[in-house]
């Protein structure tokens, strides 16, 4: 029953452009596509922040690395084939996460946060200045189309389907991890690392493995972003993008699958829909996002999902 509901919801999400056409504009599809890319990115970050208790402020490094990898691999190998470009994105995301992870997993809390931030800034600086490879401040244009055999996913509706299918797969993977002995071990690391070590868990390796899985998925999200806009900006690997993912996770609710998804919907609305309702010279979307974030940090640490849960409990007790 539950599996059937999930399958139905997944099918509805994936086929959105086709059943929404009578009443929704193509802009809705683009908006939802970008929200889903943000959701994949935020879900991967939540594996660290919410599940394993590793507050990374450098997650955009992997998103950016994946975006560049997809674009550059396509150009260097002169192919648009998804297995090559998306595979390169996942591989580079994983490799970079392994490299950075080795340096950061033994630190905790604020030190972990600052280290991930600093190392990600190095990645950003390389992207920004290595003009010959990344296009530097001009960005990487001419990212190839995502092709699977002869199917071209670059048309808006198919591009959306590619993103939505990846999103559904990412949710399934992270759900599978969360309920597995592995996911529970990460929860243990979050709650009491000392006790985990005393139980015989190599916690540094556990944290590193989570870091690599999260980096891989973030790299895939970056590649989807590159396919969508056919462009990679150095800002994709920048601090702003790391903060955006972090805010998405916290506003939605860390440590849950629903939280980052709800958060990405909310952040997308504020970034993309709210400005269109305001006078064009009033560029305050970032300020609104900041205020919303501060509001959640001060009054609702558990995010939207936590608020909803608390409300449900209150209603059911009556």
């Amino acid at each position: 029953m539950r599996a059937a509901l999930v399958a139905a919801a997944a099918a509805a999400v994936v086929t959105f452009p086709y059943w929404s056409r009578p009443w929704a504009s193509p802009f809705a599809t683009t908006l939802l596509r970008d929200a889903l890319i943000l959701a994949i990115f935020a879900l991967s970050l939540d594996l660290l922040v919410g599940r394993a208790g590793m507050p990374s402020l450098g997650h955009a490094a992997f998103f950016g690395a994946g975006a560049y990898a997809a674009g550059i691999a396509g150009q260097r190998f002169a192919t648009d084939q998804l297995p090559v470009t998306l595979g390169a994105a996942a591989l580079v995301g994983a490799a970079l996460a392994l490299l950075i992870g080795v340096l950061v997993v033994r630190s905790e809390g604020i030190f972990f946060l600052m280290l991930t931030l600093a190392l990600a800034q190095i990645v950003f600086a390389i992207a920004f200045q290595w003009t010959a490879v990344t296009g530097g401040s001009n960005g990487l244009s001419g990212v190839g189309r995502p092709m699977l055999a002869a199917v071209d996913f670059s048309a808006p509706d198919l591009m959306y389907v590619l993103v939505a299918v990846t999103f559904v797969l990412a949710v399934l993977v992270l759900w599978g991890l969360a309920r597995s002995p592995y996911g529970r071990a990460l929860t243990g690391v979050r709650e009491n690392e000392r006790r985990m070590r005393a139980l015989g868990y190599d916690t540094a390796r556990l944290r590193l493995s989570a870091f690599v899985i999260a980096g891989t998925i973030a790299g895939i999200a970056g590649a989807l972003s590159a396919y969508s806009t056919r462009f990679v900006s150095a800002q994709d690997a920048g601090l702003g993008n790391s903060v955006r993912a972090f805010v998405t996770v916290l506003v939605g609710g860390a440590g849950t699958l629903g939280g980052p998804i709800v958060g990405s919907a909310l952040v997308s609305l504020i970034e993309r829909v709210v400005p269109s309702l305001l006078p064009t010279d009033l560029r305050i979307a970032d300020a609104i996002l900041g205020i919303v974030f501060i509001g959640f940090v001060l009054f609702a640490r558990q995010g939207v999902v936590g608020l909803g849960h608390a409300t449900l409990l209150r209603v059911s007790r009556r």
């Binding site: 243990g188 009491n192 006790r195 985990m196 070590r197 015989g200």
Partner: protein, 245 residues
Amino acid sequence: MIEIRDLRRAFGGVMALDGVTLTLADGERRAVIGPNGAGKTTLINTLAGETAPTGGAIRLAGRDITRLRPWQRARLGLAHVYQRTELFAPLAARDNVALAVAARRGPYRMFRAVPRSEYAESEAVLERVGLAGRESVAARALSHGERRQLELAVALAQRPRVLLLDEPTAGMSPLETARITELIAGLDRALTILIVEHDMDVVFRLADRVTVLHEGRVIADGAAADVRGDTRVHDVYLGKAVTVA
């Protein structure tokens, strides 16, 4: 089972352990007593691998473990009950124990639910320590005494060869103390136990042998009955005015 040779640990200029040599036979139950600051907790933490020794060596079942990390020692069969409870606060008692059960099978099992057998085993251990019916309660919602019981359950679920108990009855009511003492007394005789404890009733109920630490040195070591009558022990540990019942 455990051989400690000339173990030293300095904190700044203070020698918390100043050349401790101890041997625990297989299945032996050894109490380590001594006044505050004698180095008892440092001894336990050094055995568990959480504090690195400044000198000396530790062997577990013949194997040198002096340089091994805590998780490696745990894999070799060392379990640690902390003086201050170390649990997974928001997790249910059942999940706290299940993490110990799962540790033996390794954490890299992805994409399948936690096997029921691990929960069944966890519930059996909880029943053994007297926490039947409390399986679903979060660790932080348990009473202090129950958390100590849970701490013991977590350690037992590791199926250790050696159990390090750092004041297992700390902060417990007399009734709770009596219960947990009987529980430890009833454990498998093959299990080697090293217990640090202030409560002399508990010490003499549980220990085959007693070691007295004072300022990081062993000042007395012998069968429980002998140490009970040792006047030096009375002097350093109990104060001259107090006698051991």
